[in-house]
Amino acid sequence: MKFTWKWLLDHLETDKNISEILETLPKLGLEVASVVNLAEDLKSFISVEIIDVKKHPNADKLNVCMVFDGENTFNVVCGAPNVELGMKSVFASIGTFIPGLNLKLKKGKIRGEESFGMLCSEKELNLSENHSGIIELESSAELGLSISDIMDLNDPIIEIEITPNRGDCLGVRGIARDLAAAGLGNLRDLDIIFNDGEFDSIINWKIDLDKDEKYLCPKVFGRSFVNLKNDESPLWLKNRLTAVDQRPISSIVDITNYIMIDIGRPLHAYDIDKIKGTFLKISKSKKGDKFSALNGNTYELDDNMLVISDEESVDDLAGIMGGERTGVTKNTTKMFLEAAIFDQVSIANTGRKLNLNSDARYRFERGLDYTSPEMVMHYASAMINKICGGKSSKIVNFKIEQKNRIIKFDPNIINQLTGVKIENELSKSILEKLGFKIVCVENIWDITPPSWRPDIDGIADIVEEIIRINGYDKIPSIKLSRSNYIAKPAMSIKHRQTFFASRILANRGYNEVITFSFLNKEMADQFNGGGLALNLVNPISSEMTDMRPSIIPNLLSAVQKNVNLGAQDLSFFETGPIFKGDSPNEQISTITGIRYGDRIKKDWQKEAVTFDFYDIKLDVIKVLDTIGVPKNSLKIFQEAPEYFHPGRSAVFKIGQNIIANLGEVHPEIGDAFGLNKSAIAFEIFYENIPLPKRNKISRPMLKTSNLQPVTREFAFLINDEIESDRICQIAKSINKDLITDVKILDIYKGEKIPQEFKSIAIKVTIQPIQETLTDAALEEISADIINAIEKKLSGSLREI
């Protein structure tokens, strides 16, 4: 909402200066977005008289003028068609910044003729889009004065942001009222000359709505005007409209726009000569109705949109935009003026469906003063008669009386809700200055909100009005202490799991990224997503159409981006959601990671080693270890989803629950991202990890043995198909108390052993608990291990 300082003073009688006002506005909830004074830009533009005009010797369309500012004369080359001897216009000398051209004026020769400045159009001064000629000042204008003074432009333009509840402040008067209530002056009375009209209106209203639909248009007023002269508006009016970004068009349109900004009341003017018949009908549209709006576009309407039509067709979208056919032009002499109240919801729906925005719709949607239609008929008439001449008719209207809204209010609630103590008298006076009516019944106030505040509908709203004007700075600041609590962790187990996992991963060289929750359809499909329920109706780009079924594609694209920037070895992880469906329990939290390139770089000490499945497996194990996975319950299977390399991927499970997928990303997918090395990825579904049953803080007693552990090494020949780790599992199972560790030392395949076989060397650590083991006991354990492996894996002991 834009307005000017002088405009505000039309409504506010105040001895405060502009900075005091600007300081107060935000305290009232009216945030100041900007303050601009056009005069600052226009200081060096001065009034001059053209005292000589000669044709440019080398250019047909140019003139060489001599201008006089009261003291000096300047030679100026000018191309404007309206240059005339004796005319007064606006001159910028060399060095002046021309806001409309965004350049600083330099001395120059134009086709051989020297020019010491420029005669300016309105566009060059950023006053309007008009560039048809140079500005023509009144012949009485004094020479050598700043143009901002002559054109009355020295008026700061203030823009404030209006929250959706404050429709009343979409007019200058509403802002003045708030300032007055805050003690910054008095609200002036609105200067209304009542005029009942001299003749019967040429046009009448016809309400074509069912009884239960009358609420769509509870009130509409209108009156006719004749003998109008719809010329250009006077300078002051044009200046004000231009200042608030309304393009001056013609007096009638300008007046309706002016009143909309002035008191927040949209109006619409019809050219009576273009209305077919003598009625304007308010009704609901039928699907297929067409409407050509003033903005030059044609809209096809749906059912149930509130429209106004004459005998011919729909030509007004109620509260949103008038029609082209019946709109006023400079030739209009007879005009019908409409002021109505339309249902906010209906207007909002129609505007949204047609994607049609307008200043009127903006105000209707936010709620208008229910009493405004009758008042504005007189307010507007006076202005129209003054500027356009003519006569106004009697007023024609339709209205439903609105019930008084009364809110029961216990003033103690102010302190209870906000902690501020305000004297009842002060609260009352604040409300009254804002236009509220109060009747005290014992200690309860019956409050009637003013007609221009349809947003007020409860106790909390009234409290806000009082503390807003009283000042939010008077609300005490009370420490929110933890009195009823002992210090407790803010994080749940789930948050701590990601907290710890992030740290383990970063310590292992991963960089945390955050990527969008959506990706393109193709990738969604590839990663087993892409369902209709997870497809966006209005994606921002074709790359972000579907909710992601996995974070791996996002990380692949992160790798791709960085590879393209020249990076070589990359490790990224993200903790975030993936989506299997659109209900809350189908959103799954994951910790997902990717590695690409070398784990060890070649240097003077070492040879390069690329990341492989086993690196990721270790990463996953380390993370799971940290976030509370019971080690023994974890089982690994070779059945990862098909976006992994089938031979180089795995799944960790606890029971039936998948805890993690891991492995090389399928080469085809890697190709799609243009990666020429294998990317290795994992995704941990940590919500599937069973939580510890009891939150036991104390730990079991540590039992240690001081006896030396004994180690034994074996090598077995087993079939190559058998998973190597089975040897360890079997060896360990021989004596779970004494065998503390079984490690694979070597795996050999090759010439020295039969094909389809591998030799696995293991080292078994045996930890005696109470007494040293005898050779016989050790022999027995060794023999048991050998027997078990021979029996269960058809393996044979191999001499080392």
């Binding site: 936010r366 501020v420 948050h495 209005n538 921002i540 920037l565 490790s571 659109d582 209900s583 003077w604």
Partner: protein
Amino acid sequence: MVSEQKDDLQNLLNNITISIQNSKSSSELENIRVNSLGKKGSITLYLRNLKDYDIEIKKEIGAYLNDIKSQIKKLILDKKNFFKTEYLKEKINSEKIDISLTPYEAEIGTLHPLSRTIEELCAIFADMGFSIVDGPDIESDYYNFTALNIPEEHPARQEHDTFYLQPDSSGRRKVLRTHTSPVQIRTMEKIDLKNFEEIRYIIPGRTYRSDHDATHSPMFHQCEGLVLGKNINMGHLKGCLIEFCRTYFNEDNLPVRFRPSYFPFTEPSAEVDIGCKKENDGSLVIGEGEDWLEILGSGMVHPRVLQGVGIDPSKYQGFAFGMGLERLTMLKYGIPDLRPFYDSDLRWLKHYGFIPVDNPSLHSGLNGVFS
């Protein structure tokens, strides 16, 4: 007789001494030892021959001989030590390495600045008794709007630039939550009113709006806060948020301003500004200065929102707040642009990220000193 033998022995000692002095290695020295003191060594043999002499002579020569023996032993030991020291010296000299070299090792990773901010918030609000809760990113229209007192046609809805998912068979379409506020409703619904005293929650999370330019991202992060109890008033809102702002920005006297505003789900509502100074180069310095910077929205939970979840607004009241986490992060850590937050550019991550061992907490600090 005795003196003759003593002379002999003295000569022998002199010879051995010279050969010890001239010896060049510990093996040569060992030979000398064997040849003199060993089983068949000259001194040993001499000693053995003594048995044929008188007891008096035996005594005298024996003592003399023992003295010589220990002299030789000492000489050998000294020479041995000399060799050991020399050897070690030489060994150490030969073992010198080039300390200017550093082997390559992959660098330690970093944590994203946004995660950092969320953790800082957790630390601050945990101290005030808050705990963290989550909610779904895909929401129904009810939770994202209606329950928050934003009916279908409300002008505030248009300001939300909502992402919609494909409608189901009944025509209902889910939305990507446009703010973290729906989680307020979800948490309040779970309250067991029979035993209810107070709740204090913060809700950090992903939010979505269909807007993409230099200052808007289709996905961004917010943190919601909710405090509900019997005697929570707007003064507590003020106290809580002033404490938060000052702790987060580490400024004891940071000016904090509360300004009337409007959110459909709070009444009264307040926008919160912090003091700042705009430098000539366009950058902002948080703290005392001429300007104000809006950083969060807040207000008393709207009675209609409470009624909607079955809570009697005449018995319980509370406040809620919400803030944009990217903005907080950018302001605190001087990050100029929004878009790189989601670009996964390793250079950016390394520059603006945090080392994983630096856990933000009130006792170790919230300001990423070493990162």
